[in-house]
Amino acid sequence: MCSTAKNKGNCVEYTDSGLPKIAIGFEVNGDRFEKHVDPTMTLLQLLHNELKLFGTKEGCGEGECGACSVILNGKAVNSCLVLAAEADDATILTVEGLGQGNELSILQQEFIKYDALQCGFCTPGMLMSARSLLDRQPNPSDEEIKEAIAGNFCRCTGYVPIIEAIRSAATREREALI
């Protein structure tokens, strides 16, 4: 995860490899950013260390647990496996951007209603995988829901309330469109 390259000159940044920085421009939750990032920095580290968006969590750092899921150009990704440099020109959505104005989104409301969260640590990633599913399939089957969140581990809920919440959010979102 961290750099192994030697950089004895000025190693104060979390992921400063000493390699030349890369200029990137990107959008997170509707806000535009221009940053010079280390080429070894991950998207998760960019969100945490540069933008101070801590809603996105690190559960394993190896792309196995899904806690760091965000939506990158319309697709759910494990942000610990994506390099920050790959986010150049990208549009990114994180949990902080799910609400509309000062109102929770339907998906967030249904997570609360069905108690689809306990400790809450997997919740941001789970919400992003669910958001990505509903964006591409507004009327998912239970199997499609299970498939969409299969890469997001939750140790607390047993997934049952999460599946119910996503199913209900899909219905409400479709109704809202009519």
Partner: protein
């Protein structure tokens, strides 16, 4: 007077903190940055058992950005609660692969990580204790000076010159006589591997140790801030009041964050950098490799039965592979003394529970606290005996289940209000539509299709495992506008304690839920004491404390209102935000007017700000007798049963759970949504233990699977197709001294899930499994052995 209708108890309120958790606002220690903070990384032992000959960290110290390197010489404090057997960091020797031998503090995690690679450690390898049998031989000792270790005397029993951290015993009746009375004697052996807790937030601690005083401030992902304070203060030899432990949101615990973990080490690291705050966060691999697990366990049962199916005697050995340390492990082992033979009436029993050291990652509390392990054995054993006696497994259990007037194996008398295991089993049997064993013809026909169905069930029981004098407390304060703030010492790490306690407070004060706020971020300097957030005890204990605090606040209001309204407090009642006369209801004063003391029109004031407190202390418990285990350790028992309907693929060995039905005598459901959450989550965690999870070690006792790739937890695709939860809420068997009759449920859903699955697999395949996990590989191999290779079949 008729029973009062409950307004808030039993309602499925949304959890209080849900909005913060769905918006990314909830702050966990993982996310925290404290001004001036430095980062630590640790070096792990590559050997399971070795002497540390020398440590050379001169190169690490030279790396720019490194602030301090600490070894076991500096971090030499002892740490422990029940069995003080561990140093903060390995001292003269390492006892498991993964034990911390050195730590670096640096300006960044990257520098600390690089510096750790520059530390050179010379080891002298020692012979390894790999397993229980080698440990019991005692040719190699994991702890040479075990007999000198500080421990809770009279409760735990370490054996000199052995690897036995504690040998606890139950002796009830006369097993010799009991076995003589038996028509049959059955013997079985079962085992489970060590399993990881896997909280989604790994262990993480920030410590700031004031160099000019004894003061230490801790931010930690911990279940039990007051236990951290107690154990840290003890380790460091300072007063408890010098330690302030702050626990914000916690990303899961499951027992793995009970007690004390990284906190003493990070405190020493902060001391080493002149009191700057230091953060140490475990990677997922470190979480698996350094931090404690659920112990592996082997159980051996010998049971005497009459031909009618009544138990006459049992001889039981529960041997716990606690790994290198057994501080909390000994207390897990102790639970078997009073719960290790299941919810059955056993007239004659001798039970031995031995917590044993080996050179592997060590064990601690885990959801269920030993009961998943003991019940895997008991409930499979019951099923196997039913097969051999040719008695329906439901009937065999019905003949032996505890009923009022019976005593448990530790001599506890069962009252009607202790709970009803019979009702649980009947509920499960009915929902499962169990009609008896499958016929050979049906099984054969199904086998030919490649998929076989099977049903099975299992009983469970658990009471909190805790010191007999455990207590908790709550403080309540009313704001000027009538809102109430409740302060608790327990941590809500997702189980919903704060929402439940708000419901209790709202019920007693008769105010809307929105007017009650439980103050988050438990801080030991400010919040009232709670022992530990463990053991499924908080709804019962905390609920009683909050109830008392609320009633005291109502009484305070009545005393002031009685003066103003010129009547005795007995004539007053409360509701809708008023204290009022029971008959002349217009004679009333609002809570708001009483909240800061009452002010008369002429300016006179009486009363004062409304602050109340409530405490609850475990009542009537005693330590088990050292020789016989007889005593009263169980404050509140919750009984339950699971039924499983599954399908197994005969070729691949894959188990597909079609339905799990679970019944619990919970007494009273306070919030169904939250209780359902505990049940669904517990069942799926139980499915993980049954089918997927387990540590693997190589011949050098090195952990082979410290990552999700080969040690994963259930995903959304591993869950049962259907889960049906049944809650027994019968007033006659509810917990009469619990809040509204309620009992704990946090751990219970996980217990006996593997047993029910194992029993259903027998029903499907006629194969008895004795070891977990029941992975497709293990099941397929067993099928192959049973049906293809075994000529006698």
């Amino acid at each position: 007077m008729s029973e009062k209708i409950l307004e808030h108890i039993g309602k499925g309120y949304d959890r209080k903190e849900a909005q913060e958790k769905v918006t990314g606002q909830a702050v966990y220690v993982h996310d925290m940055e404290v001004p001036g903070m430095l980062y630590a990384k640790v070096l792990l032992s590559p050997f399971a058992h070795a002497e540390i000959v020398s440590i050379d960290y001169s190169e690490a110290e030279k790396l720019k950005g490194v602030k301090a390197v600490v070894t076991g010489k500096e971090a030499c404090q002892r740490v422990g609660l029940y069995m003080v057997d561990k140093n903060i960091m390995a001292g003269k020797k390492v006892r498991y692969q993964g034990e911390i031998v050195s730590a670096v503090v640096a300006e960044s995690e990257a520098v600390a990580e690089e510096a750790v690679t520059l530390i050179k450690v010379e080891y002298k390898e020692l012979p390894i204790v790999h397993n229980l049998d080698e440990a019991l031989e005692a040719k190699v000792l994991v702890h040479e000076n075990l007999h000198t270790y500080e421990h809770m005397k009279g409760v735990f029993f370490p054996k000199k010159d052995s690897n036995i951290a504690s040998w606890n015993r139950t002796k009830k009746g006369d097993i010799k006589k009991g076995f003589e009375e038996a028509d049959f004697i059955f013997e079985d052996e079962f085992s489970v591997p060590a399993v990881a807790h896997v909280p989604m937030e790994t262990h993480v601690t920030i410590a700031q140790a004031d160099p000019y005083s004894d003061k230490i401030k801790i931010w930690s992902s911990a279940q039990s801030p007051f236990a951290v304070r107690q154990l840290l203060a003890k380790s460091m030899g300072i007063a408890k009041g010098n330690v302030n432990v702050i626990v914000p949101y916690v990303g899961g615990g499951f027992g793995g964050k009970a007690g004390v973990h990284l906190e003493p080490l990070v405190s020493v690291l902060s001391k080493a950098v002149h009191g700057l705050p230091v953060k140490l966060k475990m990677t997922r691999e470190e979480e698996f490799n350094i931090l404690p697990t659920r112990a592996g366990m082997r159980a051996r049962f010998k049971t005497g039965m009459t031909k009618e199916g009544k138990i006459t005697a049992m001889e039981v050995y529960h041997d716990w592979d606690s790994g290198a340390y057994a501080d909390y492990g000994v207390n897990v082992g102790k639970t078997a003394v009073y719960s290790g033979a299941g919810p059955y009436a056993v007239p004659n029993i001798e039970l031995h529970s031995r917590t044993i050291y080996t050179n592997k990652v060590f064990s601690t509390a885990y959801r269920g606290f030993g009961h998943l392990e003991t019940h895997w054995a008991v409930e499979r054993h019951m099923d196997i005996m039913a097969q051999k006696l040719n008695i329906d497994p439901y009937e065999l259990r019905m003949k032996n289940l505890l009923r009022p007037g019976d005593t448990t194996i530790s001599g506890e008398l069962i009252y009607p209000t202790t709970g009803d295991p019979v009702a649980c089993l009947n509920a499960v049997k009915n929902e499962l539509k169990w009609t008896g064993r499958k016929s050979q013809e049906d099984r054969k026909r199904e086998m030919e299709t490649g998929k076989v169905r099977g049903q099975g069930f299992a009983m469970l029981q658990k009471a909190p495992a805790m010191p007999s004098y455990t207590s908790t407390s709550a403080i309540m304060q009313m704001d000027e506008d009538g809102h109430v703030k409740v302060m608790l010492g327990a941590v809500d790490f997702g189980q919903g304690a704060n929402t439940i306690m708000a419901q209790v407070a709202a019920e007693e004060l008769r105010v809307p839920m929105k007017d009650v706020e439980v103050v988050w971020n438990v801080e030991t300097d400010k919040h009232p004491y709670d022992w530990n957030t463990v053991a499924s005890k908080y709804t019962f204990m905390g609920g009683n404390a909050v109830r008392k605090a609320a009633r005291n606040m109502v009484q305070q209001m009545k005393e002031v209102a009685g003066q103003v309204l010129r009547c005795h407090t007995d004539e007053l009642t409360h509701g809708d935000g008023y204290i009022y006369h029971v008959h002349q209801t217009h004679r009333r004063i609002s809570y708001v007017k009483l909240s800061m003391g009452y002010a008369y029109e002429n300016g006179n004031g009486i009363g004062g700000p409304l602050i109340s407190h409530g405490v609850y202390m475990a009542s009537g418990l005693s330590n088990p007798d050292p020789e016989t285990g007889q005593g009263r350790p169980g404050l509140v028992w919750t009984f339950g049963a699971h039924g499983v309907d599954l399908e197994v693929d005969v070729e691949t060995g894959e188990v597909n759970i079609l339905k799990i039905v679970s019944a619990f005598d919970i007494g009273k459901v306070i919030n169904k949504k939250l209780v359902d959450g505990q049940v669904y989550g517990g069942i799926v965690q139980g499915v993980g233990s049954a089918l997927i999870e387990g540590y693997k070690f190589d011949g050098e006792a090195k952990l082979l699977n410290p990552y999700f790739g080969d040690n994963r937890i259930p995903s959304s695709k591993d869950i049962p197709d259907e889960v049906k939860a049944i809650y027994i809420e019968e007033p006659k068997t509810a917990q009469v001294d619990g809040p509204y009759g309620a009992r704990g449920i946090g751990e219970h859903p996980m217990i006996s899930v593997p047993s029910a699955i194992g029993n259903a697999l027998y029903e499907a395949l006629e194969i008895n499994f004795h070891r977990l996990p029941l992975t497709p590989e293990n099941v397929a191999l067993a099928i192959d052995k049973h049906y293809n290779n075994d000529e006698s079949k």
